[in-house]
């Protein structure tokens, strides 16, 4: 276990993946310093209105450049002080940890899920303190107040997403609206695990992150799915697909939202490159965008 409990392998991972992560040697040195520092940022991960899919996606982390995974992140990378699905503490022992931590200054806040505001915030009561329920609205505002940085993980936290869709029965708001300040938005439904770890790595290295107009890192969300797509007709010289289930043809006429969606999916792919939406002949449904999930239709029929 000793080896599993050091932070060394995260450094190994960063070193091996430096090119992928956009980290230079100096960044790695800064990470090393930060990791050696007992006051290295702790991470508090809280969940509002969502489906837990972002946490599931985070657990799917795998790096081709080094034998690293979510287990290594937990044991070697960060002090994950609070995470409702993963922490071993329970009851007010658990809520006590978050209360204590957010009264210290040195932690990164990760927020998964949107902030329900309906019913004076009573739509979401993530825990009790001294027998009194805390609304998620109260929790996220107080947790954000002293956080070094706030990372929104997933489209619900970034923009409201599926939780705020339609008539938005829970009155779900983006976290930036709930706390009244900008956040670093790692959007996606789910977000890509590499993007989550990228953001953490940048913060550990003390790097500024260049964000687009929607708060998303340009380094990740700078290109559209359509432009990078191997099925783009300017690359294939072929016609559009006009039926479901046809390989290698552009899905635009079937309702694919690749042209309107900024995400690295064509190059990163998903689940250790097992597949990705378009290569499975599934439409890109625009899950990294502020407009997700529309009122637009996910499928368009031609016939």
């Amino acid at each position: 276990m000793t080896q599993g409990l050091t932070r060394r392998s995260f450094l190994t991972y960063c070193t091996a993946s430096a090119a992928v992560l956009g980290l230079g040697p100096f960044d790695l040195f800064k990470i090393r310093t930060a990791l050696a520092n007992p006051a290295a940022p702790k991470v508090v991960w809280i969940q509002g209105a969502g489906c837990s899919g972002c946490s599931i996606s985070f657990l799917n982390l795998v790096s081709a450049a080094a034998p690293i995974n979510a287990a290594a992140v937990l044991t070697d990378t960060i002090d994950l002080i609070f995470h409702p699905t993963l922490m071993w503490a329970s009851g007010e022992q658990a809520s006590g940890i978050v209360t204590k931590t957010i009264n210290e200054d040195n932690y990164v806040l990760i927020v998964e899920g949107g902030a329900p505001t309906a019913f004076d915030g009573g739509a979401c009561l993530p825990w009790s303190v001294n027998g009194v329920e805390v609304t998620f609205q109260q929790a996220v505002v107080s947790a954000a107040a002293r956080a070094t940085k706030v990372i929104c993980v997933g489209t619900c936290a970034c923009f409201g997403g599926m939780s705020a869709a339609g008539e938005n029965p829970g009155g779900v708001k983006p976290i930036s609206t709930a706390i009244g300040e900008p956040t670093i938005n790692i959007s996606g439904c789910p977000p890509h695990p590499d993007a989550i770890v990228w953001a953490i790595a940048q913060l550990l290295a003390g790097n500024p992150i260049d964000l687009d107009g929607d708060g998303r890192p340009k380094a990740i969300y700078g290109k559209t799915v359509h432009n990078e797509c191997p099925r783009n007709r300017t690359k294939t010289g072929k016609d559009w697909a006009n039926a479901v289930g046809v390989d290698n043809l552009c899905l635009e006429l079937l309702g694919c939202r690749g042209p309107d969606t900024s995400a690295p999916c064509p190059t990163w792919q998903w689940n250790d490159k097992a597949n990705w939406c378009v290569d499975a002949n599934g439409n890109c449904i625009g899950c990294t965008e502020k407009t997700f999930p529309g009122p637009y239709k996910f499928h368009r029929t031609i016939s």
């Binding site: 209105a49 287990a71 937990l74 979401c124 009561l125 339609g166 439904c189 479901v244």
Partner: protein, 485 residues
């Protein structure tokens, strides 16, 4: 005199749950004498679906739960295909089974190692493993250091294996969670040799883990905590809708068959007309008492004497039924030992093994030259019932389409069965009943209650978080409109 303890939050579940237990000493043993799983839960997903295009449903419904998105998407597909009279080709069914079973396996491994194991051993001295409740576990009490270290190693290894099971689902699903390839009429993905090869390799690795790590670890835990074969039984009534059938929803060769098993009786055929929902202890008008899901009305009534939950109490022939892996494996006859905390873990592990065996057969049955999808018209109007199994148990979607738009949507999740409140007869819900009699060694850290709760693998992400009625007058209006249950 009994003391009431409230656990809030119950961590290591999907979503959020608050449980109250009453503890007293009976025959010299301090134990749980009453329990309230008063989930007052709200997300309004059915309302989010209203007026959307019928073919959006499988994508929207996946977002009900990021842990079992394939089951939610599949229930939506089955309901919509019934509404539109669509029949997928055999390949489409096989591919759905492969994607869905992969999701079961990753979820079962997560449930045992990452959600349940922490109730039995003490983890490494760093977050998120510590602090934690230490009563009745740990190196000096139950598991010795060697066993604890071995289980922690398995915990970390399992994190990687469950990740690989997600990759397995992504091969034909497109990605996990929230796969893109689900569509009424079949599956969009092509069966290519590279995908078959990748699937076989990953599946073999997962099977090795199940045989050499998961099943032995469940046995190991069951020996150390043998008393948990006698704790957490509950009412003993079991229910399953079945899953992974062939075309025409034929379950004759399916690994998971539908059925109802009354306590201490034989399994009988499933009759969905026997399902009705009670509202005596739920914040709904008693005029809506005992309605079938197809006729369900949702008329909120708050305040209401004695009510303590926004969940209704679904009952089968008036009986509170446990759903999930143990219910399924006893209904198929694969598992016979009994009903308890440890039996739930054993049956879950054995089901994971059974499903990986089925996956080998389904993969071999794929015809790479045959279609995976049947072109089909979008229904202008119609009604459909989608019954399937999620990793946590029986899952039902009921849909109505009018003017090529979703006009009605109802979801009854597995956790709605397991975590239901008392019913019209005053019978406790399955999880409440299972908590009765569990010993509590330390009132300040009632870890024994967590063992019972986590054996059901509760998932409330489908109805995120607690809604307290005293702050939520407006919810009555929403519930009147039939949004949620």
């Amino acid at each position: 005199m009994a003391t009431t303890i409230t656990i809030d939050p119950v961590t290591r579940i999907e979503g959020h749950l608050k449980v109250s237990i009453s503890v007293d000493t009976v025959n010299g043993v301090q134990q749980i004498v009453d329990a309230w799983v008063g989930g007052t839960l709200f997300r309004g997903f059915e309302r989010i679906l209203l007026q959307r295009h019928p073919w959006d449903a499988q994508h929207v419904c996946q977002r009900i739960c990021g842990v079992c998105p394939v089951s939610q998407g599949t229930a939506a597909l089955l309901a919509m295909e019934q509404a539109g009279n669509v029949q997928p080709p055999p390949n489409g069914i096989l591919l759905r089974n492969l994607i869905g079973a992969a999701n079961f396996v990753d979820s079962h491994i997560l449930s045992f190692y990452h959600l349940a194991i922490p109730d039995f051993i003490n983890g490494p001295a760093m977050p998120p493993f510590q602090p934690a409740w230490t009563a009745d576990k740990g190196t000096n009490k139950r598991a010795d250091k060697t066993t604890t270290d071995a289980l922690v190693k398995s915990y970390l290894a399992a994190m990687d294996i469950r990740r690989k099971a997600q990759s397995l689902g992504a091969i034909f699903g497109g990605r996990m969670p929230h796969p893109s390839a689900l569509i009424p009429g079949g599956i969009t993905t092509s069966v290519r040799p590279d995908r078959i090869k990748n699937f076989k390799q990953l599946l073999a690795e997962i099977q090795t883990f199940i045989d050499s790590v998961y099943l032995p670890d469940v046995d190991k835990l069951g020996k150390i905590f043998a008393d948990y074969f006698d704790i957490g039984k509950g009412h003993g009534h079991l229910l399953a809708y079945g899953a992974f059938g062939s075309v025409d929803n034929d379950f004759s060769d399916a690994p998971l068959t539908p059925g109802f098993k009354k306590a201490d009786s034989n399994t009988v055929a499933l009759n969905t007309r026997a399902i009705a929902e009670h509202v005596t202890y739920s914040w709904y008008d008693d005029a809506t008492q005992n309605l079938k899901p197809t006729d369900g009305e949702t008329t909120a009534k708050y305040p209401k004497d004695n009510a303590y939950s926004w969940l209704k109490a679904p009952r089968y022939d008036g009986r509170p039924c446990e759903v999930g892996p143990l219910a399924r494996m006893m209904i198929t006859g694969d598992y016979t030992r009994g009903i308890s905390v440890m039996d739930r873990h054993s049956a879950r592990a054995q089901e994971a093994k059974k499903l990986t065996n089925s996956m080998v057969d389904w993969l071999a049955a794929l015809d790479a030259t045959a279609p995976n999808y049947t072109e089909s018209a979008v229904p202008v109007s119609g009604r459909g019932e989608g019954l399937t199994e999620a990793p946590r148990g029986a899952l039902g979607h009921w849909v109505a389409v009018e003017n090529t738009k979703i006009s009605r949507y109802q979801v009854v999740t597995p956790t709605c069965w397991n975590a239901s409140p008392r019913d019209v007869s005053g019978l406790r819900g399955p999880m409440e009943e299972a908590l009765i009699g569990a010993p509590i060694s330390d009132m300040t850290q009632p870890v024994e209650a967590l063992r019972v709760i986590h054996s059901f693998d509760p998932c409330t992400a489908c109805a995120v978080h607690v809604m307290r009625p005293e702050r939520s007058e407006a919810v009555a209006v929403l519930y009147d409109a039939g949004i949620n249950r």
